[in-house]
Symmetry: D2
Subunit: 348 residues, 4 copies
């Protein structure tokens, strides 16, 4: 079988680096080009030192791009929507890892991004990139837009509950704890180690853009109120969403178990984590580093109808490059776990 | 002026150590005895190595206690309620830092602690230890029960809103991020560094006992629903509570400012932290290490009536020893900040 | 080809867990049994939660062991030398990951371990487990003793210099910075998070037992003086050795390069890391997490004949399970990198 | 008594902030002005958020400086030597916290700083800022140059041994572990949290400029060879120097004790830390956060004449602002501990 020839546009950042790492070990993919304007002509391992002795690939300029089978776009948010009309001439398939084509409603985009979308006609062409919700569409899709990391953790935690109409959609509160790699590889005063290390920074108490994705993807007819706050903690990789919802009926935990099993029982990358004892009774982001899993747990309040759902991923994997590769596998009919087998580490 | 002679019972733990540290530098207090059964006869600095060269004090046994002016009790939860009838013969005043006398309703205690309170008659004698709520009673009190750390952060964040009837009391969601020192100085598998470091552990998604204190202290006539979850993060000292509430009326942020200023404008240890820019726009626990401040900030959701309140303290200071010393100052008519002037560090 | 049937004795610890993780993905190995006395009958993923959904294997007792092709022993130090005469009846090949059979001289053992070796006759049968030094012997070996983690980093950093007689063997100073997983998975006061987190603990300024391995392996005729100190830092996985040596002749850095290239140019798991710029100019343990690499760099002092060699590994991989698997591959004629391809992560 | 009126030039950085914090609580000092060109007219607590509610001071421009009793200079290295001739007209006394006037030999400066000193005539006027070595001169000094942080830890650890001719001066190896605040408050790619957090970065294996200070201050007639390497670890504040030296005579540890006691027995800020058990047997930087102590411990090698000396400080306190204030106290005849009483925290 011929390998799929892929090119990564904007490959010097964290998401691009993670894609390169994964693709180098993917048996059915071949990296044709990787671009970075600031690293043109330099070895990939200069930007991604973990890849020393693993590849002799060098960065190209976006102006030197050749035709290929699929483009991964890892451009800054807002940049892809300008360049994509040109880029789509180069490959029949595109997976975009920016935020530009996650939403399909221009008004929703404008509300949360505070600016007009400049490529409205393409918005509808993209499949939202969570395979657990859109697997069938992905099988024949040419354009996939990778989901936001905090959105992925939140949506996967909530999806079985909202879809099965088990909770009050008007009262969903999500508190995400996030690591510093979410902010990308550009340094700033906010990321300066003496300030950022040890921080518990309420960087987005309200107004987080990923809310829009949650509203879009969990719309099963009834409008939702989603109260999302994001707090940066001293962690590099990882998202943990603590989600407070209120059950419509007096369900017991075993009923909740059944719902999650029904929806996710065959999912290769979802694990229900809920144990009676030990240090890892609920999802723990550090166990997920370098894996494509989304671990989900829950606990019902003894004194009320509150259910607390805990959902966790590695933001660079299931929250970005890993989920994109999962979509890539589905698009091409490869076994979905291909290249994503890493089980995670303990201790770490 | 004669110094107040104080004794600390159970002084080898983190809270006891912090009290010793503070009292050594308090101009109007003198430490008479400190007890620890496992360290009897040993220098205090063996258990608290930060105090090397600062004191030659040695630990005594609880059986060797002499009369004094005031007892600080730092015994394990459940232990004080058994011993206190004996201990109160030794001193006219007691400040108890355990959880034993925080609640004044035996039924509330039983509901949250899952065991019967064995000293019900004394429950009513204790003033709940948050000066911002009980300063007047403290001035003449003989028995003060120190407040729980997560309860302190939560109550102080919510108090102006609930008291002034600004929010829906039926829908209060609190997500506390806590450090490892909350668990005390006893090692366990849960506190083993390779497991605990880097953890984002949902150690109490529901059922946190401090909920009872919040319900008690914020009861202004209407019953509250408080949804509290606690997540352990990689931090030693510190609590940050992210509190989601819903405004009854369409208040603006400037109105909220006014309410907080009205309630806390003269408080020496409360700072409203809410800035437009910089890394410290909201309360940050690391800035509070070794201080007695409770920093409180807030942000109104642009698209809903949600208000996010952020409240942070050092759990060993404003959440334990510092707040106990603040109460001590009030009880004795000393300037409230005495011995609690440390402003915090930057960077840290 | 039939897979090699392996059993891991003492598999509930960190090293055992790491071996299970690696062997589950090894194409030519099959795990037959894993033992743990405290976890008998329980799923492996209860002890190693990273392996959830990756294996349904359960722990057996050491008393239930069956014959197999190879035993990995991950028993506590001192325990293997007692049990090994029984255990070797079960399999023709053994790889021991404890410290019991690293040294081949009983006197050297007694000097550094302060106790008599109780299985002297077997000491000589074990090949010391660093493939870069003993690859040829490993090809036909039945007994391999895994090397100490700090010893591995130190020996690999020094080997080309000592072997080629380039440095003063009487003046070698090694300062290793180590993580908490070196201490294993048993909790203690020393590993309690509030004490261990943020620590820079001089836990072994002198007398570190791994010194004995360095002396044994780098003995090319002339006796060595090795001054080893070990400092624990706030890290879970990782060793970084900073090694100060003094060049016999006025060699330049390019001459040093040549020597390292000559010795290690074909080594699959050694990388010379020495760059002019960037954050990763020298070996960095965090880049090595989950990899089997030993990264080595160096810098010559401008004003003296001092050469500083920097050598780094993941203590659970190249310092334990990874290196054991590398030896396993060599023993069986498998490509040496099999199952050890993971390149490491960035950022992490 | 009139308070000493002091002004801090370059007060928006970490060292300047620390000085402000200390001086705000100093009973005999009064801050007259603090300068920062980028923060002119803004409240000090905007740059130093720990000082919220502690001062209403605002930043001035260096062009608005008025006369005062003493200037603290916290300008970038190289900047002070240009401006000082102007600045010294403003105050009779100067304490310079930059590196510009630490050395008194222009040739030594040129060798280590790779550039010519442009204010050679002033070099001799400054007293090197370690009180334990220069207390008498400080009492009458007008110009004091604060010592480098790594130099302070190293010099104080070595001073009793070199002065008393106990060790081989030709073979001194120092490995310093340092935190990120040493690099100041300017962000860079090197300080970007995802890269810097968890790092064990060999940022200066050779050629560290503080070596020059060590050579200057420990010159008791015989020339020294000092092999200094600096490794950045995941810590914000703190220096720990592990120093390997070789005893001339077969001294026992009790003899070493005597020497340290003789030299430092009356020193208010030096503690000899050497215990048989516990987690804090040797100096630990985290216990020193916010204190002015230099903790020193040692261990003799059982098998050789090597002595390992461990010396630790808070780089912003005893390594910068704290030591500067100690010198300030000595210059003015104040009790040396004034304003420097903070004992440190446990846990932290």
């Amino acid at each position: 079988m011929d390998k799929v020839k892929v090119t990564i546009v904007g490959a010097s950042g964290y998401t691009g680096g993670e894609l390169i790492r994964l693709l180098l070990f993917h048996p059915y993919a071949e990296i044709k080009q990787v671009t970075s304007e600031s690293w043109v002509g330099k070895f990939v391992y200069k930007a991604h030192p973990n890849l020393r002795k693993n590849t002799e690939l060098k960065f190209s300029s976006i102006n030197e791009l050749e035709k290929c089978d699929l483009l991964f776009l890892c451009l800054p948010h807002g940049s892809g929507m300008k360049k994509i009309n040109e880029l789509k001439k180069l490959a029949p398939k595109i997976i975009d890892l920016s935020a530009d084509f996650r939403l399909n409603d221009p008004a929703l985009y404008q509300k949360w991004y505070k600016s007009e979308h400049t490529n409205v006609e393409l918005m509808k062409d993209f499949i939202y990139g969570i395979p657990e919700l859109h697997r069938e569409e992905m099988k024949t899709a040419n354009f996939i837009s990778s989901a936001g990391c905090n959105a992925t953790a939140s949506i996967l935690g909530l999806y079985p509950l909202v879809k099965n109409n088990l909770i009050d959609p008007k009262n969903i509160t999500i508190e995400v704890k996030v690591g510093s790699s979410e902010g990308g590889n550009k340094s700033s005063d906010a990321s300066h180690h003496p300030e950022r290390s040890g921080a518990v920074r309420s960087y987005q108490p309200t107004g987080h853009r990923h809310t829009a994705e949650i509203l879009q993807e969990l719309n099963f007819g009834e409008e939702l109120n989603v109260n999302l706050s994001a707090t940066s903690i001293d962690m590099i990789r990882g998202v943990l969403a603590t989600i407070h919802v209120f059950l419509n009926d007096n369900l017991e935990e075993k009923d909740i178990w059944k719902v999650y099993r029904k929806e996710y029982g065959n999912e290769p990358f979802i694990r229900i984590v809920k144990e009676r004892e030990g240090n890892y009774r609920y999802p723990e982001p550090k166990l997920l580093i370098a894996t494509n899993y989304c671990d989900i747990g829950f606990k019902k309040d003894e004194f009320s109808n509150r259910l607390v759902v805990i959902s966790s991923i590695d933001n660079l994997m299931k929250g970005a490059a890993g989920q994109a590769l999962q979509a890539f596998n589905i698009m091409h009919g490869f076994e979905e776990r291909t290249g994503l087998e890493f089980p995670g580490l303990h201790p770490i």
